[in-house]
Symmetry: C2
Subunit: 340 residues, 2 copies
DNA sequence: TTGAAAGCGGTACCAC
DNA sequence: GTGGTACCGCTTTCAA
């Protein structure tokens, strides 16, 4: 671990050229005569020089790094989003880091401080919440190079990218109705923390209402996005005398849990009960039965979020247009016509 | 995005105390008189001062950050490992970043350069390979604060932590034999890239041999860790006249694929065919049927890897003891007695 | 226990 | 197009 690491001044001395020129040759090649540049780059490569990033960042007050902050890093959903972000970021020479709050308030504040202290140049937030106003004022937050992605926080009128959750849920429910189902249950997202759950539930309710189906609160089970809650929901729903013939779940994982539980109870999916999810996780197409679900354009979500962030970094304020993306209903084998 | 960010000298001026003392109060409190310290910290908190990490890192030549490098960041396997690493790292005030090579050589070299240039203080490698000797000499690599985790590269005698893959595979196969199976197929890891696949296959073969079962190369299918390859394997295995009654898969995902394919072919698991995986991913216990598999102590793997790394950072050389961890066979519902 | 000052390794301004 | 030099913000000697 001997760290006699090479610096610009070493190369400068060796080549009898000023540090400034070396630096320029490395970061602004077109400011340097072609001949000099070639001469320098040749030596730099030969010596395998690596710039000290801390020195550079200190001087430029920029790290060319952006942070993608999520609630739980192990959720399969995020990776394609990450790749979308990375693709756009890379084009401008930025790297992307992924951070996870794990519902830890302290961690969350640390990440925001990374933005505040310029340790990263910006942040894409998918956690659906902001730190307390006691830590950062709303005004301060709005000034920061941050984009809200997927989970909007409308009260604060922050730059954001969302999908149309209401419409997507409505479409899924309408599809079930078209299949002949009337007793349609819904396993929701956790409803208190984020708005997404409410929007999807309202989409579900709206579809029922518009089709003249009475909303039955017994058919709404408040889930928490886990496989286990999907299973628990089914246990409860099918204990009752009035059993649903279809279930719309607010994410795929709960749909997995629901289907597994139905199987344990010897209730066939989709013949007896249709199940439909939300997200279209990678697993869903190889699940058994392959899961009907709402596809969210994850890669695009990442790309567009990053574009928004770049825009915000550039214009340094909060006045850019927000974006709302469309989803798509994917029909596979977990849903079928109601057999009367 | 106005960045009038506060610095130590600002506080120094305001408090009429030298910057040195402020810095000490923040990083070496016991070098500062209690009274002064309290006075300083009170102001620091009030002003919400955040140290400039680039300046600090530049000065100390250490970032208190370590890198966890994997091949594909979206593999569920890694997260608990990550948490184990993080737990140990945190105790010493270190943060952990996770990086993914995505099989991109350039990316890989970049990550190694992060270590070389002190951008991170060390690295835990789970990619099972080192960059070409043309980029880094073997000697240079060995000097670097890097630990090989899970995927050893024995030719280079690098510090490493592994699990006993041979033994684990043998145990899984023996268990199937004990259930009365003799026609046991094996879906392997990709065999050319890493040693793990070979070790597991050899463990499988050894179990058969020791039980007097003839090794049948037709029963060995070379997989690639994906769900799809598990399904493809089954398609092929069950087209033949000589069908296996049990399958040992080199990871859980291929087991998922195998089970789904068997179901499509109306072959009941576990009544007709037993399937056993390797890894015990979070999904496996809620899979249908719940998957029998080899549990790898992921959290412990993370903790121990980080401890090894700290040791290596401390003693600055490659002479620490390597570690080999034990696995555990988890029996669930995807395996059963052979029905004759 | 505290302060002054040097310096980490780059970049960017200014002059030529 | 190139060089000299100040400076980014922190830590760490050294001296008091």
């Amino acid at each position: 671990m001997t760290n006699k690491s090479l610096k610009i001044s070493d190369i400068a001395k060796k080549l009898n050229i000023s540090s400034s020129t070396i630096s320029r040759a490395l970061t602004n090649p077109n400011l340097v005569a072609k001949k000099t540049r070639k001469f320098i780059l040749k030596e730099v490569n030969k010596l395998k020089y690596i710039p000290n990033i801390h020195a550079r960042n200190l001087r430029t007050k920029s790290s060319k790094t952006i942070l993608f902050l999520v609630r739980d890093i192990d959720n399969q959903f995020y990776f394609e989003v990450f790749r979308g972000i990375e693709k756009v970021a890379k084009k401008s020479g930025y790297s992307v880091l992924m951070g996870s709050t794990d519902n830890d308030l302290k961690k969350e504040i640390d990440f925001f401080n990374m933005v505040k202290s310029n340790q990263v140049d910006g942040m894409i937030l998918m956690t659906g919440r902001l730190p307390s106003r006691k830590i950062f004022s709303l005004n301060e937050l709005k000034q920061m190079p941050i984009i809200l992605s997927l989970e909007d926080i409308p009260e604060v009128n922050f730059n954001s990218l969302t999908i149309d959750n209401f419409q997507a849920a409505k479409e899924a429910t309408n599809y079930l109705i078209k299949l002949g189902h009337e007793k349609i249950a819904h396993i929701t997202s956790p409803l208190s923390e984020t708005r997404i759950g409410i929007l999807r539930r309202d989409g579900y309710r709206d579809a029922l209402k518009k089709s003249g189906i009475k909303i039955n609160s017994k058919f709404e089970y408040i889930g928490d996005y886990t496989v286990e809650s999907g299973a628990a929901a089914c246990k409860k729903l099918f204990k009752s005398a009035n059993k649903p013939t279809a279930i719309f779940c607010s994410n795929d994982e709960m749909a997995y849990g629901a289907i597994n539980q139905l199987r344990r109870m010897k209730i066939n999916v989709p013949n007896k009960v249709s199940v439909i999810g939300f997200d279209d996780l990678p697993m869903s197409k190889s699940f058994y039965p392959p899961l009907s679900t709402i596809y969210q354009p994850r890669f695009l979500i990442g790309e567009k979020s990053m574009e928004l962030l770049f825009e915000k970094i550039k214009i340094q304020k909060n006045k850019i247009d927000n974006i709302k993306l469309k989803t798509k209903l994917i029909i596979r084998d977990s849903s079928a016509k109601r057999i009367k």
